[in-house]
């Protein structure tokens, strides 16, 4: 018992002495900041929800944009919650307590945790569809009025609905397939259902809880629909192979909300690039860090450009003629 007490005291002393070293480094790194604003260095914390093609691309775009503008004056503390929701709070706490200059939150729970953690450090979100519901703001106007801004991955749903009409004018039943755990997908489904119903289609939601029951749900959806629409759903994006294996043999075409899903199992999409989205977020970060822009008044930005794309393999298999203004997705 005595030995343990001594060991504990020693450990505490070591920690304190380490902390003392830390104080010194903090002081030395603080001095150039005071001397010249031009030489100011920035630390940016990046909190990403999970390893995922689209989210990875957004993070990369963000880093590329800031590095292009600031070079080695910016350092990134990049953390990934590995899909654990409560870990987002741990990461947000880490960033706020180490006083980063800006937090980039990639995906909805990351943004919510960061927004809860601080009302002073600027927070930029990306890969978030609907900022109003993500932040619990009921009278949504396009700006948050707080330290939060960012980019939305909302695909232009009206144009997607128009595209579906252009490609499949004779279809009647549209199945909308998404994961019940994703608020963004539900939101998109609600919006596009209204648009498609106005065009004369009958829409039905097919939701699954995870990849285990996906195959069953897709089979039902394929049996009951003429066309399937897939929103920008992360779980769908990770399981396109399952969907393809059901829908292509059944001869059911899929219109997808984004390029990655379309490359896996879709016929056509009106695509946004998550890399571009991340890049736009990086440019917003530059405005805030260097030019002192206020996130409270910065409107949420949307993807800078959309491209009509199609999956040549699946279109050929299903014998669908694609208009000439569509671009084939590069084979992977």
């Amino acid at each position: 018992m005595k030995k343990k007490a001594i060991a504990l005291v020693l450990a505490a002393m070591m920690t304190l002495s380490l902390a003392a070293c830390g104080t010194k480094t903090a002081e030395t790194s603080a001095s150039p900041e005071a001397s010249a604003a031009a030489n100011k260095t920035y630390t940016v914390g990046i909190c990403q929800l999970v390893q995922h093609v689209a989210l990875d691309a957004a993070t990369q775009g963000f880093k590329d944009a800031l590095t292009a503008k600031l070079g080695d004056k910016v350092t990134f503390d990049e953390q990934n919650a590995n899909g654990d929701i409560p870990t987002c709070a741990t990461i947000a706490n880490q960033f706020v307590s180490s006083k980063v200059d800006l937090i980039m939150a990639n995906a909805t729970p990351a943004l919510q945790a960061a927004q809860t953690a601080t009302n002073t450090i600027p927070v930029l979100g990306t890969s978030v569809t609907d900022y109003g519901s993500a932040l619990g703001i009921t009278d949504w106007t396009g700006t948050t009025g707080t330290n939060v801004s960012g980019t939305s991955d909302l695909a232009p749903l009206d144009q997607q609905a128009a595209m579906l009409k252009e490609l499949f004018p004779d279809a009647k039943n549209v199945g909308i397939l998404y994961c019940s755990a994703e608020p963004n997908s539900k939101y998109q489904s609600k919006v596009i259902t209204k648009l498609l119903t106005d065009m004369g289609y009958t829409c039905k939601d097919y939701t699954f809880s995870d990849s285990n029951d996906l195959a069953t749900v897709v089979t039902t959806a394929a049996a009951e629909s003429d066309v399937i629409y897939l929103p920008t759903d992360n779980t769908v994006a990770s399981n396109t192979e399952i969907i393809k294996n059901v829908c292509v043999p059944a001869g059911i075409p899929i219109v997808a909300g984004e390029e990655g899903i379309c490359a896996g199992c879709g016929v056509a999409t009106l695509s946004i690039s998550y890399y571009d989205l991340g890049y736009a977020t990086g440019e917003m970060a530059y405005e805030i860090l260097v030019n002192g822009a206020d996130p409270a008044t910065m409107p949420i930005q949307f993807a800078p450009k959309y491209t009509k794309e199609y999956n040549a393999d699946i279109a050929k298999t299903l014998n669908i003629t694609i208009p000439s203004d569509y671009v084939a997705i590069a084979a992977k």
């Binding site: 018992m1 343990k4 920690t15 380490l18 902390a19 070293c21 830390g22 104080t23 480094t25 903090a26 990403q48 390893q51 350092t75 503390d77 990049e78 953390q79 990934n80 590995n82 899909g83 654990d84 929701i85 409560p86 870990t87 987002c88 709070a89 741990t90 990461i91 947000a92 706490n93 880490q94 706020v96 307590s97 180490s98 006083k99 909805t108 729970p109 919510q112 945790a113 927004q115 809860t116 953690a117 601080t118 009302n119 519901s133 993500a134 932040l135 619990g136 703001i137 707080t146 019940s180 755990a181 994703e182 608020p183 539900k186 809880s209």
Partner: protein, 317 residues
Amino acid sequence: MDILGYFASLNPLNLLASLPGNVAQGVIWGIMALGVFITYRLLEFADLTVDGSFATGGAVTVVLILAGVPAPVALVAAVFAGLLAGLVTGLLHTALGIPGILAGILTQISLWSVNLMILDGANKAVNVDKYSLIVSLRNVGSSIIMALAFAAVLIMLLYWYFGTEQGSAIRATGCNPHMSKAQGINIDAMKVLALCLSNGLVALSGGLMAQYQGFADIKMGQGSIVIGLAAVIIGEVLGDALFSKKMNFAIRLVFVVMGGVIYYLVIGLVMWLKMPTDMLKLLTAVIVAIFLAVPYLRAKAKNSFSLAGKRGVQKNA
């Protein structure tokens, strides 16, 4: 040079500064671990309901707070929702004869749909700027105090309860169900009671966590059983190491909560080390495994048989 640069980039002050937040989150998970302790240790029942009931607690709390109910009342409702979840698992197991693990899994997956209905979607934010919350990441200091107060009251209540006749009957049921039955204890009732109690605590923790992080998410409970079990075992190992035979039931409960804190300190440490982010789970597992293995290996080295074996070798040589 690169290695030096790496160490220079680690600022110990940042690790210290992040401590309070990690402690707050750890105490909240420690309350959840108390629930796991009741089923896993006292009842010897691996209850997988918790992955669902944790999110249920969060969902009920957030939805009620958004509806204008004061946060403490919302938490009470969350506890009742958790009790109900535990009741379902208990009845599936005792009244319908479904094996314990499966009964927990069935409740857990059904709670997914229930939680979606409660939340009316997959995710709901409860903005700390608009509602007065008991704990919040915005206010780490007061969160620690509130979470510790919750934990302290719960530990006292549990200590008292498991000393009563009914509480002792639950413990006896876990130790030796056949003997308990022979003593006239209704072991089915005791199992259901313990499961209710456990899931009530888990839901309370879920309600606190949802307030702390500022939202409830359908996936927030995923993997919580792992954190709960890790906290229980880390706490026990640590308690045994510090108190060995003097460890009583009250100290044991305190160390279960400590286990949650240590788990989150480890995660904070791994993040601070700025390792490749994909390694987070592996490194956490390795550090926790070392934690658990060291006392075992030390005990093994001190084991009288192995010492006797060594002496024997020396004599024979």
